[in-house]
């Protein structure tokens, strides 16, 4: 078993490209932590730095209290599962799983015992004499896990191990991973870009963007108390809606103006003090929006698209008043790898609303959008940080 601590860990590539920026993070013994973020956010690089496959430019990595900065990968007592599984093609399943034990000079009996045990846990017993090319994607993934668990390491590092699988198998193996961790209790760091994987597997989730750790917390906290607009927008599907607003009334509760509509909210205690005239971003999740027929007290809007799903459907709406500005998380990470061609233009932006499938408004109709003021989250309009 092992705890993993990162202190001020950074990685700068030649040409001053910052891949990982000053990350502080602790993974407790036996914990299942997920690193999540979009492509190129540095999560895999950080995992590889923990494994010793990448050098670190600054900071300190400790495993079980021992500084690992200059320790070779094979002496770190960690096992890694790669996205491609990296099974040795010339070896059978049995040889693949036993290989690390042979290198470590375990006795033949001990190797057999451990390999058989791993095969039993992962339901691989029938496949032990096959070569990797004779296995399906799911079976290969299980062999890769077998190769990791047989060593009984201090920690498992899983680098997008499910992303090469089809959707159905991914769900099945995701559950298997969870069960395996519950059974073995080995410290695990799982890297993924899939927020569902992150939210379902991790006891804590570290969200990365552009090499920087944005928030490290429980899935519940990430969803309900995101640290900034990036986290709020990244966690949750469809993403949280963001609207520009200005403070028009102060006091214990704030009155916000969203175009002609007024919204009264109670700011989070201990947050930044806001006064009349300040601009804020109002974050509201699709399930905290509802609709009424046009003419109600809510924000006048028009239904543009309807996605019929069961038991809930999604509608995409545009505010009728064009002075209501919709923002996206991307607006706050300018300079990141956002393709301008893919950026949604301001006038084309829509709000996502989650409604019961039984009461979906007809498309192209005018409605009144009701915002659950008690559930909105406020963000600084300049920095995107939660208020």
């Amino acid at each position: 078993m092992g705890s993993i601590t990162l202190k001020g860990v950074g990685k700068v590539y030649a040409g001053n490209t910052v891949a990982v920026n000053n990350v502080d993070l602790e993974v407790k013994d036996g914990e299942f932590v997920v690193f999540v973020g979009p492509s190129g956010c540095g999560k895999s690089t950080l995992l590889r730095m923990i494994a010793g496959l990448e050098t670190i430019t600054s900071g300190e990595i400790t495993i079980d209290g021992q500084v690992m900065n200059d320790v070779s990968p094979r002496d770190r007592d960690i096992a890694m599962v790669f996205q491609s599984y990296a099974l040795y093609p010339q070896m059978t399943v049995r040889e693949n799983i036993a290989f690390a034990l042979e290198l470590r000079k375990f006795s033949r009996d001990e190797i057999k015992r451990r390999v058989d045990e791993a095969a039993r846990i992962l339901d691989l017993s029938e496949l032990m004499d096959r070569k990797p090319r004779q296995l399906s994607g799911g079976q290969r993934q299980r062999v890769a896990m077998g190769r990791a668990i047989v060593r009984n390491p201090a920690a498992f590092l899983l680098d997008e191990p499910l992303s090469n699988l089809d959707a159905k198998l991914r769900v099945q193996l995701r559950a298997e991973l969870g069960r395996l961790h519950a059974r073995l209790g080995v410290t695990t760091i799982h890297v993924t870009h899939d927020q569902v994987e992150a939210m379902t597997l991790g006891s804590r989730v570290a969200v990365f963007s552009r090499g920087t750790l944005q928030q490290y917390d429980t899935p519940h906290a990430l969803y309900h108390a995101p640290a900034n607009i990036f986290v709020a927008g990244f966690i949750g599907s469809p993403a949280m809606n963001f609207l520009e607003a200005s403070v028009v009334g102060g006091g214990a509760s704030l009155t916000l103006a969203l175009g002609p509509t007024r919204l009264t909210v109670v700011p989070r205690s201990g947050g930044k003090e806001l006064s009349v005239g300040d601009r804020v971003i109002v974050g509201v999740r699709p399930e905290h929006l509802d609709w009424q027929p046009a003419g109600g007290s809510g924000l006048p809007a028009r239904v543009e698209l309807v996605e019929h799903l069961e038991p809930e459907s999604f509608i995409a709406v545009t505010p009728a008043d064009r002075s209501v500005v919709i923002r996206t998380a991307d607006d706050f990470i300018r300079g990141a790898a956002i393709d301008p061609a893919e950026e949604i233009r301001l006038e084309e932006r829509m709000l996502a609303v989650r409604v019961p499938a039984s009461r979906v408004p007809p498309p192209k109709t005018e409605i009144s959008l009701v915002i659950d003021a008690a559930r909105v989250q406020l963000f600084d309009s300049a920095t995107g940080a939660a208020i």
Binding site: L53, S72, P73, R74, M80, S84, A86, L103
Partner: protein, 280 residues
């Protein structure tokens, strides 16, 4: 590795390709058949026109073997060739592994320098090489000759291995490192078994080149006891008369190992060439 095959030629080009291949085969095989025919002729018949021997003499092979001491020549050639091929494969595999899987400063520059060896013909370096080998005490020494073959073989073999290793996923190497392999263990236990095609390619290329090599052997070996086959057979050419039928028989015997090596490694070699051809 999946089975690889060269893409089939478009149907309309096939007749032309078949005729072309046939013509090429005739051009290549004619001298071989001519030497084979010569090797079965009598001494008097050698200078007469006509491809087929009127009275085939298989005994020429036994006579050539005994009279020219082919046994010793074979042994010398085998020692020099097998030794040099083994060392070339081991060293060039290690070099190619370092060039592809171990990032280090100056890797590209060093590889470019090594590639210079491919473009410099060995015969251009004969004189300085002779001086160097004398200085090192390796003149007229079979091990010295083998070492020279290794040096001249390294650039092209490293190039072949580098091309192949570049296609082996880095994650495989990293997995082996995490499993506890040293770099040498990764090379011999993980990479080498995957590189059979590339190894066969290099073995055949090097075996062919070193077994048949003449100029360097001529310059660097003096004592007839250490002569390789090419030198030994060449020594039988007299100023006024030569037993061409026996020399032809000896040449046929000398060519046999190359033929056998190719036959044994043919499948791996063809796969290696196909992989290289598709990856370039």
């Amino acid at each position: 590795m999946s089975e690889l095959a060269l893409p089939a030629a478009p149907r309309k080009f096939r007749p032309a390709l078949t005729i072309g291949s046939l013509l090429l085969s005739i051009v290549v095989l004619t001298p071989v058949l001519w030497i084979f025919s010569l090797s079965l002729k009598t001494s008097r018949e050698t200078l007469r026109p006509g491809l087929l021997p009127t009275d085939p003499q298989p005994g020429n092979y036994v006579e050539a073997w005994n009279r020219y001491g082919l046994g010793q020549l074979f042994l010398n050639s085998a020692m020099v060739t097998v030794g040099s091929v083994i060392v070339t494969v081991m060293v060039s595999m290690s070099a190619a592994y370092a060039f592809t899987k171990i990032p280090f400063k100056g890797s590209e520059a060093l590889f470019s320098l090594l590639l210079l060896g491919v473009v410099i013909p060995p015969s251009a370096l004969v004189v300085p090489l002779l001086i160097e080998m004398r200085y090192l005490g390796l003149y007229d020494n079979r091990a010295g000759l083998a070492l020279v073959y290794v040096a001249f073989g390294l650039p092209i073999s490293t190039l072949v291995f580098r091309g192949f290793f570049a296609t082996i996923p880095g994650e495989l190497v990293e997995a082996a490192r995490l499993d506890g392999c040293t770099e040498l263990q990764i090379l011999w236990r993980i990479i080498a078994p995957m590189a059979k095609g590339a190894i066969a390619t290099v073995v055949i290329l090097m075996f062919l080149a070193n077994w048949n090599e003449f100029i360097l052997a001529l310059v660097l070996l003096r004592n007839a006891g250490g002569f390789t086959l090419t030198l030994g057979i060449n020594a039988q050419l007299g100023q006024y008369t030569s037993d061409y039928h026996l020399i032809a028989a000896a040449s046929m015997i000398a060519a046999l190992p190359v033929f056998l090596v190719y036959l044994v490694l043919q499948r791996q070699f063809e796969r290696g060439v196909a992989e290289g051809a598709l990856k370039s």
